[in-house]
Amino acid sequence: MTDGDVRPVQRGRGSSAWTGRRRWIGHAFVAPVFIFLCAVVVLPLAHAFWTSLHRVRGLSRSFVGLQNYERVLGDEAFWHSLGVSLQFTAISVALHVLLGLGLALLLNRLSFGRRALRVLFLTPWMVAPAVGATVWLWLLEPQFGVVNYLLRAAGVIRAPLAWLGEPALAFASVVVVDVWRGVPFVMLLLLAGLQTIPPEQYEAAAIDGANRWQQFRYVTWPNLRYLLVVASTLDVINTIRHYDIIGVMTAGGPAGATEVLPVLLYNTAFRGNRLGDAATQGVLLLIVVLSFSAFYVRITRPDRGSPAA
């Protein structure tokens, strides 16, 4: 082979030996990540499945088949926790999307300051959830917290409330904190989506005499609908498996009012020291998460789908 006819070989159509070698080299570059992820993700995952089929007592473990599943599924605590999880996720995500959309629409066509505002609005999402939750613990502190002070000064409440001390209030509080943290991400996605809508479409609508609402209804909405579904699904996946905020603020209390599945899992494993049950609950949580993931993969092109955040 002379230098002159290298090209056809490079295009990979020349010989099957060449494409074979090429593929082999490609695999060699990807292999380290694959092996690493198998070791640190797939292996623990398999271990969790394995544990869910065992009774673990200290260092001894015995195979019990599906007994753990039978017990966990017969346990009221699990169903209660699943209910709390679904409620928490549904309300949080609905508010993320609603407020995120509102904010995105507000920021979308600003003549100035959009980038600066985007950074500012993103701040709650940047800070570690555990640290943000700690700050909220102080804001909501019953005696000296500023939230009670402000609400009393404004005449909204008469006596200070124990925000994290009563079931319904505690649930509402963790939702508020999760909304505070979660809105920016949805806003970011939707704002990016809004920016891709060609201005000509709005101009055309305006020429046709469409008012603000009609412009939203017939230009913004059809363009944004798909992205709204994608963003909500991603957000559901992220919210339903989130531990940090509730873990720090209430650890699932009071009386299990905020015990979402990830928190139940943690409490079962590390407070109750029942690893077999915890692994079983984890597998069940995984099934819930994966059903949403499957939906996400179906609606997005997987090779472009964002595994972000």
Partner: protein, 277 residues
């Protein structure tokens, strides 16, 4: 018409201002509290700007509390995670963009799958394995764990950056007799440097903000990272809120500064996939 427009604009800015106040108030209160002397914390009504503010809480934290240690732990673990993830992710992104132009859908799906797993599920077997291996309370265990959830993100982001480097450059180098490793090290990596820097910083921040893994994998308080150390301070008998808020500022400030600098990259990386779909 004109008057209606300016009214609408005023309302819009008012709405933005209200949202901004609600969003940022916790940060204002965090900083405000961190600057108060201990005696002022439990005043009612609270002071919105302390007249005798000081950095006492910060000095106490840094001299009498193990905060510096937590900070160093966070720094070491996040840096280690960044290094490991970046090396592995760069190799993979090169392989995926250069040798599987079809996109290696299966592998990307695998990344997506690992990214979507609930960490509370993984943390249980991880704890068991690490405790069996005697690796609890080690940086090594934390770096491995953190890389497991940082990697899919790093790979995915780098794919975007590597894809934007024209393949003609590789092909020209092949004609010149360069090996694939040479192309990777001498051509692609230098060209992708802005992307690598962005990915490195994001990986660092993801690791820095993580909580659950370190909570489970460290039991010895000298190995706590910032997030765990701070959340742990809440459990103390008498919470020193000014010190706690000062600690939160110390943990949060680097993050906010870095993110603000990287905001454009962040937006591109996160929205590209979802928006263009």
């Amino acid at each position: 018409m004109k008057a209606g427009n300016s009214l609408a604009r005023a309302l819009k800015w008012a709405a933005i201002a209200i949202c901004l106040v609600v969003t940022l108030f916790p940060f204002y209160w965090m900083v405000n509290t961190s600057l108060k002397p201990a005696s002022e914390i439990f005043l009612s009504p609270p002071t919105f700007i302390s007249s005798n503010w000081s950095l006492d809480a910060y000095t106490t934290l840094l001299t009498q509390k193990p905060l510096l240690r937590f900070f160093m732990n966070s720094l070491i673990v996040s840096a280690g995670t960044t290094l490991l993830s970046l090396v592995l992710a760069a190799l993979a992104a090169y392989g995926l963009t250069r040798f599987f132009p079809g996109g290696a859908t299966l592998f990307v799906m695998f990344l997506l799958f690992t990214k979507m797993l609930p960490e509370t599920l993984l943390v249980i077997p991880y704890f068991q394995l690490m405790s069996d291996l005697g690796l609890l309370n080690t940086y090594f265990a934390l770096v491995l764990a953190y890389s497991s959830f940082a990697l899919p993100f790093s790979v995915w982001m780098l794919i975007g950056f590597f894809r934007s480097i024209p393949r003609e450059i590789d092909e020209a180098a092949i004609v010149d007799g360069a090996s694939y490793l040479q192309i990777f090290g001498l051509i692609i990596l230098p060209l992708a440097r802005p992307g690598l820097v962005a990915v490195a910083l994001f990986t660092f921040l993801i690791a820095w903000n993580s909580y659950l893994w370190a909570l489970v994998l460290t039991t010895d308080s000298s190995m706590f990272v910032l997030s765990v150390g701070i959340a742990n301070m809440v459990g103390e008998y008498r919470v020193q809120w000014n010190e706690l808020m000062a600690a939160a500022v110390i943990a949060g400030l680097p993050v906010v500064v870095l993110y603000s600098m990287l905001e454009r990259h962040l937006v591109n990386a996160i929205t590209a996939g979802a928006v263009k779909g």
